[in-house]
């Protein structure tokens, strides 16, 4: 609680709250009473903020994200997205971008991006127009006709991001989207994501294993403990924006990354 107070002082966003999580807990049903997965998670994400969640493997980061998306129900506590609970997926409020290539291999890049719109029966021209605009936004002009297997790993994740953005939801949840990419592509994609975020002003909750990625991208980093996952530290990233690659070599950057690393080590 003390950390939350620190944050609101340090980072006055002055806007409404996009995501509010209060005392969320989750227990996986099992033979001997169940496995506690998440414990007493409380967090508040202001609209337009970029929040990164880090933690050891199996700490329940992904589960938490699925609950924010309405894809999985929590055992206790509540999740509010723009003031309302989210018991089922709601593409009007939340777009999700998944690990690795979750693109449909039987659809072209453009058709993949149109997929969320076509589920709602949007008219053909509108679908095409918006998908084309998204393709341009993620820097893939002219690649719309390609199938996923004809795209590189980085390009596939660009298409995934475009698909997540096409319905223009205010919130974007990202589950280790760049985990499968090589180091260089990963850096480029992080930079690209910030550019896109800056253009669209979405609220982003981003889960990752990479501490460098966390510090580079975030306004705020939430550190989770090993299972049962709890939030053990909240770190405001005060680096100025736009972020540059050069910042990674600075003292401030190193200190922030060290602090996260110490927390994770203590917790696991």
């Amino acid at each position: 609680m003390q950390h939350v107070a620190n944050l609101t002082q340090g980072h006055e966003s002055g806007t409404e709250v996009a995501i509010e999580v209060a005392n969320l807990g989750h227990v996986y049903a099992g033979a001997d009473g169940g496995v506690p997965a998440l414990q007493d998670i409380s967090m508040s994400v202001g609209a337009g903020r970029f929040v990164v969640i880090v933690g050891p493997s199996g700490c329940g980061k992904t589960s938490l994200l699925m609950m924010l998306a309405g894809l999985r129900a929590q055992s206790e506590g509540k999740v509010l997205c723009y003031g309302r609970p989210i018991p089922d997926p709601d593409p009007e409020r939340v777009g999700v971008i998944f690990q690795e290539a979750s693109l449909f291999p039987w659809l072209s890049a453009l058709d993949n991006i149109e997929f969320p719109l076509s589920l709602r029966g949007a008219p053909r021209e509108e679908r095409r127009r918006r998908a084309e605009a998204m393709l341009t936004l993620v820097g893939l002009d002219g690649f719309g006709a390609r199938y996923p297997h004809e795209l590189s790993g980085g390009m596939k994740q660009r298409v995934s991001i475009a698909r997540g953005l096409v319905q223009d939801p205010p919130v974007l949840l990202m589950d280790e989207p760049f985990a499968a990419l090589d180091e260089q592509t990963r850096m480029t994609m992080g930079h690209e994501l910030l550019r896109i975020w800056n253009t669209t002003r979405k609220t982003v909750v981003f889960v990752t294993h990479s501490l460098t990625e966390a510090v580079y991208l975030a306004d705020e980093v939430l550190v989770m403990s090993a299972r049962p996952g709890r939030i053990i530290d909240r770190i405001a990233i005060t680096l100025p924006r736009p972020r540059t690659y050069e910042m990674m070599a600075t003292d401030v950057f190193g200190k922030l990354r060290d602090r996260i690393w110490q927390q994770i080590r203590k917790a696991s």
Binding site: A69, L71, D88, P89, D90, P91, V94, G95, V96, F98, Q99, E100, S102, F104, P105, W106, L107, F115, P116, L119, R120, Y147, P148, H149, Q167
Partner: protein, 250 residues
């Protein structure tokens, strides 16, 4: 070996077999009453193809094969998905289907005659029955190839249950189902043939069975060539569909 060499070898082999078919009976090495020379068979084929009775038989057989296929494939696919997706139905039906699948279907033929008679419907019903099992088994396997991630993505965009079926399950299962199509076409054709040879008034199978009983060997072999041509035609149609539908295959 280069491509042209392979083709040449194939042609040579074909020429050898056809040449033997012509010459061995012609010189009495094989009894021409059992195996008439190729030229006699081809002459008979030409003769038969001029007869309205044969036209009718070919048209009937082709229609039976087609209708049975069009019934069996969607039916088998739908049942397979239903059983694979529902734990309850799976528990009940999987063993039953597994055992019935291993039983030769021709033992049910008398039942089909009792219910449907010996006309068009009986051929279609019996062939569709045998084919549905093949498609059903493969559809159950195809459901396993649907990626949980893809279903999750669709759900996150608010896809309803029917939408997930139509837009995720169907395309995910397509590669396996396409491979099944040709195999099920073979089962389907066999089903129609057996039903026609067993009891019928028309169809290529009926004609062949009759010629065999009457020891009309040139007619019999001409019938076999006719049948092979129709079977190859169907096989190629399915293969054409396969190629058309599998552009996205990875």
């Amino acid at each position: 070996m280069s491509r042209s060499q392979i083709i040449l070898t194939r042609l040579a082999l074909l020429a050898l077999v056809l040449g033997a078919w012509e010459l061995l009976p012609r010189y009495g090495i094989i009894n021409p009453l059992l195996l008439p020379p190729l030229s006699d068979v081809l002459a008979m084929l030409g003769n038969l193809l001029g007869r309205p009775q044969v036209h009718e038989a070919i048209a009937t057989t082709a229609a039976e094969v087609l209708v049975a296929f069009v019934i069996a494939v969607p039916l088998g696919a739908a049942l397979g998905v239903l059983i694979a997706e529902s734990e309850y139905l799976g528990d009940i039906f999987k063993p039953i289907i597994f055992y019935v699948f291993s039983v030769p279907k021709s033992i049910f033929l008398p039942m089909f005659i009792l219910v449907f008679g010996i006309g068009f419907q009986q051929k279609v019903a019996y062939a569709a029955f045998t084919t549905t099992f093949v498609v059903l088994m493969s559809a159950m396997a195809a459901v396993e190839s649907v990626k949980a991630d893809h279903v999750l993505v669709a759900r996150s965009y608010g896809a309803t249950r029917p939408q997930i079926l139509l837009r995720i399950y169907v395309p995910s299962m397509m590669p396996i189902l396409l491979e099944t199509l040709r195999i099920s076409m073979i089962f389907n054709f066999t089903g129609v043939m057996i039903a026609e040879m067993y009891a019928s008034r028309t169809g290529i199978g009926h004609l062949i069975a009759g010629w065999g009983e009457n020891f009309q060997m040139p007619q019999l072999f001409a019938g076999v060539i006719m049948l092979a041509a129709v079977a190859i035609l169907f096989n190629e149609v399915v293969r054409f569909l396969e190629v058309r539908c599998s552009t996205w295959r990875t």
